[in-house]
Symmetry: C2
Subunit: 334 residues, 2 copies
């Protein structure tokens, strides 16, 4: 067995493993084979978008990881769809505006009028009432990131489903198994279902990530350079994997109301993922015991938090260093 075994081959586990390998560790990743939340995730790197609901320590963690992403994307050495065109946060109605205005004010972003928004995104519906532009909110393609990391790690990634941590005989075990972490550790991680659509058409309809409140519903639209457009996401406290008529309808309705021209695009994928949520929806980062380190429960921020998680866990495992950034996220807090 290797010095370190990472249980979980999703974006967090692979990022941790790669950082450990770069720092000279002997690492094996055990990958259970199920696609994690990264497979459906749109890859919005939005440290500010969550700030209404979360605590200052989490905001610091999100912002640090967002700062790490440009260099991290470069390190990966291949195109992973990192795109810094920025995000338009939008409100369709007066009620939607009232809802979003509080967050925008705190973020100190200048309110843009409809005409200014349509200068930036001509395809926006004329119904859009207001918005802000946040250049710090960028995007990456999570499938390309995972593919790049798998390539780098090569045979260190072993297809194997771990049923119990006692079956792993490394000196150090990093559990980065997303929702599967609950069964392995007893930690309180629940799956939060999200339905996500992928459309495809000629590139160029949209340039920015759109994150909007549309008649009281939240939707994001993430256009990729190759013509893919990701539309997400429902948020349901359910464990099933069903793509439902209601979920698809809700996403299409909000997306087409916001950008009517999306109607012409091909609907290429309807998918379901489960975000690993904790009781406070903040991640679990740190030692569970002398042998086991946890890097899980990233909820909606797994892609964004992958680089900072990798640095924190590598420091903990190789240097015994407790990064003060992670002090509030101990898995032993529950």
């Amino acid at each position: 067995m290797s010095d370190v075994t990472v249980v979980g081959g999703g974006i967090v586990g692979l990022s941790v493993a790669w950082r450990l390998v770069q720092r000279g560790a002997d690492v094996t990743v055990l990958d259970g084979g199920d696609d994690g939340a990264w497979h459906v995730a749109a890859g919005m790197l939005a440290p500010g978008g969550e700030s209404e609901h979360e605590d200052p320590a989490l905001i610091r963690l999100l912002e640090r990881s967002a700062q790490l992403w440009p260099a991290y994307a470069k390190e990966l050495g291949v195109d992973v769809g990192y795109d810094d065109a920025g995000t338009l946060s939008l409100a369709m109605t007066a009620d939607d505006l009232a809802q979003r205005a509080r967050v925008w004010k705190r973020q100190e972003l200048a309110l843009l009028r409809p005409s200014e928004l349509r200068d930036l995104e001509p395809a926006l519906s004329p119904r859009v009432r207001a918005g802000v532009f946040d250049p710090r909110e960028t995007q990456v393609d999570p499938r390309k990131v995972v593919s790049a990391l798998r390539e780098k790690l090569g045979p260190r990634v072993v297809p194997k489903r771990v049923e119990a941590l006692s079956d792993v005989d490394s000196a150090t075990v990093v559990v980065a198994a997303g929702c599967g972490t609950a069964a392995l550790t007893g930690l309180p991680i629940r799956p939060v279902k999200g339905q996500v659509l992928r459309l495809r058409g000629e590139p160029g309809l949209l340039r920015h990530v759109l994150n909007a409140s549309v008649d009281g519903r939240e939707v994001y639209i993430v256009p990729r350079a190759d013509g893919e457009v990701v539309v997400g996401a429902t948020q349901e406290e359910r464990t099933d994997r069903l793509v439902t008529a209601g979920g698809v309808h809700e996403l299409l309705r909000a997306a087409l109301d916001l950008v009517p021209g999306l109607a012409e695009l091909e609907l290429t994928e309807t998918t379901v993922g489960h975000r690993p949520g904790t009781p406070d929806n903040a991640p679990l980062l740190g030692r569970l015991d002398d042998r086991v380190v946890v890097a899980a429960g990233h909820f909606r921020n797994g892609v964004l938090l992958a680089p900072v998680t990798a640095d924190i866990v590598a420091g903990l495992v190789l240097d015994g260093a407790d990064d003060p950034m992670s002090a509030d996220f101990s898995p032993r807090r529950f």
Copy 2:
């Protein structure tokens, strides 16, 4: 080569072939392998639903074939989903009602109040304004019909794409190639794109076929005994095979407005088919020349018209009998 070669292995070609075989003919079916319109069709057997737009001769043909269906389904000897629970034709708004009322009046169907409609279908939206019940409009599962016919015909169905009728050396050739008939014969058949959804849930949410006008949009909902629910269909003068965001949205919106409980069902299929339409949208049934008989261009009525088409073509090929029912549908009329 056989005495008769049928070009086209869809529901019309197979029905013709089987009737010819029953009557003693030596038949081969050449099947190009592409699924025809039957593969996406819901299988509504609705001779009246079309009556607003069509001519008396076509209505007679549709009604004759509807009368043939119960015996035809029995003849097939296996469960093909024939279900005579009947159809509710529905209008959501006052405008929808004004639109449908003319047809209902001609059909001499009694107008049902919302409470009467919900006694028949408790899952209907309380917004539904009026409707009628037509016990003559039934349904069948076209995929099961095709599967039963293929089973009966066995090795007589040969996978082979025909590029030109001169490559077929039978004494008689029946062209039942749907949209492909145009290229083989030069006849004016155009593909009319339809997007169709399939949902799945516990059986029992709906009992009847629903055919509705919902805020100016036409939608049908066909519940099967096994829990499948077919939702259709867009009608687009396009040749592409793209399932679009706009098409799926339009169908889901109308279906969920009509039956809100469908939101919980799994969305299992999004498909595209092309109805073979002629300039007058009536079928092409009859001799093209001494050797070639055409049975194509059935537009939205291929499933309904399969039995009567089989009888007419078998009579023509084996007895030289020109059924008066088909007099108005000669392929030489264009």
